[in-house]
Assembly symmetry: C2
Homo-oligomer: 336 residues x 2
DNA sequence: CTGTTAGCGCATTCAG
DNA sequence: CTGAATGCGCTAACAG
């Protein structure tokens, strides 16, 4: 019933070799005659041997695991990153120890301690906003990569979306499709993603000699805010022909409000969001054009880089801004 | 820079005791004089000692980790379960090895092998639908609990929502609020959750002598389907005063369609969903009443039960149906 | 109560 | 090329 713990020495005796030779054979070391390796491998399979990675880790001094410390599993940003990382790491035969700090730094510290005691080989720290966070410091002794939420310390390596470029992409798309009176409905005040996007947007609009309508001010990342901000905009003095929202949820709210005010989308007003949360963007009529942050790719890249770093390869430091991707849907598109 | 690996024997010599005594003291074993324990603990903190859990695991024969095998991280069902489990397990000082099989059974088998080689003490298998899945069998040698998606083998322990009761709860709520012509818009055909809910619904309606309108047939779990099904219903012969949708997304689509057909919600038609996915249900106007599946609680319970089982305590087997919870919002409520 | 002695299962020198 | 010996860091009998 309970696994009868078939060990390496079982394999060894089954193959008629020593423990050491069996080990070498199974690990593909060169110092073993091909013939004996085959014999060992056969024996191992015969008695269905499987390495005990705990023992192996202890002997090797490497655990073959990495920690994944998330600040907030609930949010929709951590999860894609997590998926990408889990996927990429699996290929390298290393497994993920998952910890959710739930936004509590006490909890985070606790998790780090236990992760370290479990001898993780590396650590991925993923957050759910793009504002910088305090560094974990260098004393941890293993490679650490910050994902989505960058570290405030430039000596660390951080991977985060290029929101300035995202802003440019969005603005260019609206201009390309003939819009000239573009409003930007922002998320929370002092939010880095919003600030960066605004920068990219105004850069592009400025170059095109176009104004930007920013009258709505700041709010929340909710549909409710999208509705009320849009209503304010529509009641305002300046006529608009495009609304660029800092999140898909805001955009969805905006869509409701536009409809309530009898504006056709996209004929009268073009609409865009950010993040490409398909649950929101793909289900509306029309679908909402958005800028995808490539989060899963980011997770995958983080994992690969972490692995390289564990292997001792040198990696960069500082914040790396990863490209975003325009996803066009009906809300900015006349045909279809 | 690299952690200088302070070990138990360092603590021992620092405290002037033997390795064994240090171990006992740190593990809170009773066979140690209070005074010496204090000394050891002090010494340990002094040189900032931290257990090497790998070594500890090897010596104890228990890894202090459990595997969490999910079929589909992307889906919105696994995640709350995962969060609950991670949370509950953390309390018991055990950490979670995460694996996502992505719905691929080859991949699943592979993950199980590596999890087993990592000497996990137990395994949580969580799926994203309530239809039964094949059992992993008993030969694994460690406790396994199936969560959300139950095992087809009654010898296993499975935790899943009580969808029949969920159906009853929903139907009762609609009856209580004065509805008599209730339509049920179903999700995918042959889906167990839908079947179970339909059973609960018709049971309650039957007892109340009320009909059930089921004309729309089956579709997908999307807003689109909610819209078209509702339109069909509204164009049909029978007048309805309530729509019960198999998911919140369907309900949101239904809300759109009802509005397009000039039906007021909830004055003319009452509307409900299932799952209580707040991203959907809380953002509409009015909010959508739904039945919450208590997934996070389910994850927590699964973790506790798994832990008990690891501890050798006897646990039940078979499918355990966990209670759901009505969450009332504006779509079924006149006041407010 | 404390210390000594064995392993846990495996990778790795280092002789043969 | 192979095998005997050593140790990874810790826990668990056992003696003292």
């Amino acid at each position: 019933m309970a696994r009868k713990a078939v060990t390496l020495s079982d394999v060894a005796s089954a193959a008629g070799v020593s423990l050491a030779t069996a080990s070498k054979a199974l690990n593909g070391r060169t110092e073993v005659k091909v013939e004996t390796r085959l014999r060992v491998v056969a024996a191992a399979r015969e008695i269905s041997f499987s390495h005990n990675s705990i023992a192996r880790s202890l002997a090797r001094g490497r655990s073959g695991t990495v920690g994944l410390l998330t600040s907030d599993l609930e949010g929709r940003f951590s999860l894609p990153v997590l998926m990408g990382a889990e996927d990429a790491l699996g290929v390298d035969e290393i497994t993920v120890l998952l910890c959710d700090a739930r936004g509590d730094s006490i909890r985070e510290q606790h998790h780090i301690t236990t992760l370290l005691s479990r001898q993780i080989d590396g650590l991925l720290v993923v957050g759910s906003r793009t504002d910088a966070r305090p560094s974990l410091g260098r004393k941890i002794g293993i490679p650490v990569i910050y994902v989505y939420t960058p570290s405030a310390d430039p000596a660390d390596l951080s991977l985060t979306p290029d929101n300035v470029e995202a802003g440019r992409i969005a603005a260019r798309h609206l201009i390309t499709t003939g819009r000239t009176q573009i409003a930007h409905i922002r998320g929370e005040v002092d939010n880095q993603a919003s600030i960066d996007r605004a920068k990219g947007i105004s850069e592009v609009l400025g170059e095109a000699g176009l104004p930007i309508v920013n009258d709505a001010g700041y709010g929340e990342w909710t549909e409710r805010w999208g509705r009320s901000a849009t209503s304010m905009l529509l009641d305002g003095a300046t006529e608009i022909d495009a609304v660029l929202c800092d999140s898909d949820q805001i955009a969805r709210g905006a869509l409701d409000a536009l409809r309530a005010h009898d504006r056709r989308v996209p004929e009268d007003v073009s609409l865009m969001g950010f993040d490409n949360w398909t649950v929101i963007t793909a289900e509306t009529r029309p679908g909402i054009t958005s800028v995808d942050m490539n989060l899963e790719y980011m997770g995958r890249l983080a994992a690969h880089t972490l692995f390289a770093s564990i292997e001792g390869k040198p990696v960069d430091s500082g914040i790396e801004y990863l490209p975003c991707r325009l996803v066009v849907r009906g809300s900015t598109m006349f045909d279809r």
